[in-house]
Amino acid sequence: MDFRALVIIMMSAVLVNNYVLRQFLGVCPFLGVSKDLKSSVGMGLAVMFVMLMAASVTWPIQVFLLDANGLDFMQTVVFILVIASMVQLVEVVLKRFLPALFASLGVYLPLMTTNCAVLAVTISNINNGYTYIEALVSALGAGLGFFIAMVIFTGVRSQVAAADPPEAFKGIPITLISAAILSLAFFGFDGVIENLFR
């Protein structure tokens, strides 16, 4: 196993191909749940957790069940169903055995079913031809990238809340403008990683 390749996959998922800021995946929860630090940390952790679980389950399903039987056209349907039922399962298990964790993540778990970032990570793992380990690393990276973007953006928003934009820009528009600037900042990472791993 090439450790260096894994580090590159991880870093590029977190910084260069950040799901929210570069690929517009998971924008709704990014804008909706980033108002205070507590909820954005909860949401970020929930996304990371579900992405990792989803990737670890869907990869074997694709390889051993769908590809092996020529059923790859069922991919989207099967993946969504798997993610939905997995989220249910995680909810039940957490509630029963880890009530403390459930208290902080519980509200956000049901939202994962229709979170496009989670489905996207499972599909792009397959499209990119990743091995099982690579798939897990890229899912972890995508989740971590989402988490980092959420936390940074919460900080930005607390500053924006104190500002006084033109009437028409109040609310969602000014939030989007802040997201644009944060997204622009993430472009700075392009060259960094490219040259770090020469």
């Binding site: 517009f24 924008v27 229709t114 496009c116 599909i123 028409a168 609310g171 969602i172």
Partner: protein, 221 residues
């Protein structure tokens, strides 16, 4: 009665435009709106899925039990998405390449969930068809608006046609991710300005999202 039907159809286009007024389905709206052509393709594909799922859910509204309706909707919407994906891959390959991962992601577009949960499961087939066409058209037009601005300034073209002067002086940021956020923010601000005296949503969170019934708060019913 006739005016009622008309309002179902037009409501989704202007008054309750899913993207510009309800602020739903942002991921595809921002991601594939770098080219006007792709925007139209994405809009039509989404409208197809919306139409299919609305019709079937409306037909089955008395058969699907309340408790398992969400899994049923998920399966139905996902399979219409796959139908659209297969058709596009077979007969419109360039569009298939341009939409990339956002084509299968139509399956988790919250506009479609919202229409299924808010409209199709309590109205007859004809009304559901009109509703789907209205919302689909609203989504397509909003995408076209965003994409036109981004393509004209970002690449200096419109529907692939080169525009004089702009083609040599394109502003790259419009076709990159930040440009998407900025253009969308400005369009929302314009909508806010125009509809100033009407009640407009100024906050975006999951509690005010109509799809929350379908995704987040499904146990509350």
């Amino acid at each position: 009665m006739k005016t009622d039907k008309k309002s179902i159809l037009t409501r989704g286009i202007i008054k309750e435009n899913p993207v510009l007024v309800l602020v739903l389905g942002l991921c595809p709206a921002l991601a594939v709106s770098t080219q006007a052509e792709n925007a139209i393709g994405m809009g039509l594909a989404t409208t197809f899925v919306l139409l299919g799922s609305n019709v079937v859910i409306s037909l089955l509204r008395n058969i699907i039990p309340g408790r398992t309706r969400i899994p049923c909707y998920i399966v139905l919407i996902a399979s219409f998405t796959v139908l659209a994906k297969m058709a596009i891959e077979a007969y419109a390959y360039p569009l298939y390449q341009a939409l990339g991962i956002f084509l299968p992601l139509i399956a988790v577009n919250c506009i479609i969930f919202a229409r299924a949960e808010m409209f199709a499961n309590r109205n007859n087939v004809l009304d559901s068809v009109l509703d789907a066409l209205g919302s689909g058209a609203g989504f397509t037009l909003a995408l076209l608006a965003i994409a036109s601005i981004r393509e004209i300034f970002g690449s200096g073209t419109w529907f692939g046609l080169e525009l004089p002067w702009l083609a040599d002086n394109n502003i790259m940021i419009f076709s990159l991710a930040p440009g998407g956020f900025i253009v969308f923010a400005c369009l929302l601000a314009i909508v806010n300005k125009i509809s100033k005296d009407r009640k407009v949503r100024t906050e975006h969170d999951c509690t005010s999202c109509p799809a929350a019934v379908a995704c987040g708060k499904r146990n509350e019913r």
